[in-house]
Amino acid sequence: MAELTYRAAGAAGIAQEMARDESVVLIGEDIGAAGGVFKLSEGLFDRFGPERVRDTPISEQAIVGAVMGAAMTGLRPVGELMFSDFFAVTWDMVVNQIAKTRYMTNGQVSLPLVLRTANGGGLRFGAQHSQSIENWAMAIPGLKVVAPSNPADMLGLMAAAIRDPDPVIMCEHKALFAVKGEVPDGEHVVPLGQAAIVRSGADCTIVALAAMVPKAVEAAERLASEFGIDAEVIDLRTLIPLDAQTILASVNRTSRLFTVEENPRVLGWGAEIVSIIADEAFYSLDAPIVRITSPHIPLSSAAVLEDATIPSVDRIVATIRRRLDEAK
């Protein structure tokens, strides 16, 4: 086992796949000799050279379009968008072209591509460089959406995303870049569509994603030690494909469900999960479901404002405790 940062694990995942498959190439802004603004590609240029790790102009439409054209003609390209907010600049390419071309051509065209991007808040970057955009992608048929919460998953899910025959949006959370964790030795691949139960518990289920996973785990530990509440925490890992069965099985055991979502509230991924539970596990529930989310408001840059907007450990603990008290 080696210890890697979340940031280095992403590069390690790409390196693992570039080493085994010549068709894997990487393009983006400042990713070559500079190693990326967030150092997400550090070492790749030196190891694989300028043909496989290519700098681009500040041209997000061209980056994403070129990735699509390369994917439809035999490569497995990875395109980097420096900030996930920049997806808004490329939305035609992503929504109208990449997501629909396989379907519209009745399967003639496959698009084995990955768009990796620095996502999420907590770095005081303000409303245009802090968004959690997983829901944007989740809403579009034809896109797979991945959001790892720890270094081992970052490496393994990156590898799976690159091997996947379909388009994958890889949301890499900025607040986790410096987090260290053990990463398995040898080739590591985490299949898409398998949620992880990161803490077992009997009293309630907390479903979280990306940077909300460590917060949910910390909240669960506090709920246990301070209030005797035994919470199960599920790390979704991927929104599409969605591992609904793991959530359903957990809710059937615990009878209570909370989601913890960094995204603005309206139509967040948790709403889809609530809908599934309402349809398929209604009679297992002992209490109303609660979504713990950012409000439907942009993120601010000031630390105190941003921290009070995104769900915090305190808010998760307080919300769950209150709801479980009410249910008694």
Partner: protein, 344 residues
Amino acid sequence: MASPAKKSAPAIPPDVSSDVSSEVGIALYRTMVECRQLEVRAQELFFEGLVRGTTHLGTGQEAVAAGFAAAMRSDDYTFCTYRGHNHTLARGVPMAPILAELFGRANGLLGGKGGSMHLTSVKHGAMGSYAIVGAHLPIALGAAWSAQYRKSGQVAVCFFGDGTTNIGAFHEALNMAAVWKAPVVFVCENNQYMEYTPIGAVTAVPRPAADRASAYGLEPIVVDGNDVEAVLAVAQTAMDRARAGEGPSLIEALTYRHGGHSRADPAKYRPADEVKAWLERDPIPAHRTRLLARGISETDLDAIDAKVRDAVAAAEAEARAGLEPSVDVIPTELWSDGGSAWRN
């Protein structure tokens, strides 16, 4: 190159001593006639109610499609727009599945999932018809980058309209292609109108593509897009340049849409004398005149016309015989596993 003043079309260059062989000249003629007859019939079938949705016909612009297709290798890539029937057909895609797709039938090129604006046949190198203006320029660049990386010698050819030169993706793709020396040929079919508006009224330079070329370090290239042999010549030069690793080209082909923007558009905004002048420069009779001057017989050319008419009729019959798609196909082919599951 004569400039296409608003009211008068450029004159046909007197050309009877081209180095194009009779065989190639006839093949170009046949391709253009195929495009024309299929489009004309598609329009008739639209008015019959058999073709649904919308169609954007390429009548009048056949020389661009035929000239470029003749310069392409079978494994080269064509990327075109929603006005893409000509380009798709010119790459050798059979007529019947094209018509059947327009009809929305199961035997359509895309099984009824795409329609007129998305004709694609990967095995013919027809890599898609793109219906959002400008999107396919970066995508064609990506295919060219892939060919460059794989050292396959393939070239991507990307056709688009004059209106596309005013969208951001045009600039991004041209710049990145030039920086990367990507083997891609960008072909602006300047049919003088951005949908319903004269291109000159919404563009800061007189030549929407050629006048932008210098911004990407490229030569300004303008060709008479109604002269199929002139198109073939510039196409060959650009393809050779791309294959030699010398990078992209940007070509502006001057042409004219015989009809409106789409089937909903009677094109009443165009001055009658302008339309008349361009109709007199119809690329098909012009090329026919040239072939006759070279000694090809009227009988031979009439025989081509008749054979194409039969082929269109046969394709129509085949397309009409197709069934409506089964609704069972709705949840298929979103993903590479053939299905559309998003959860377990």
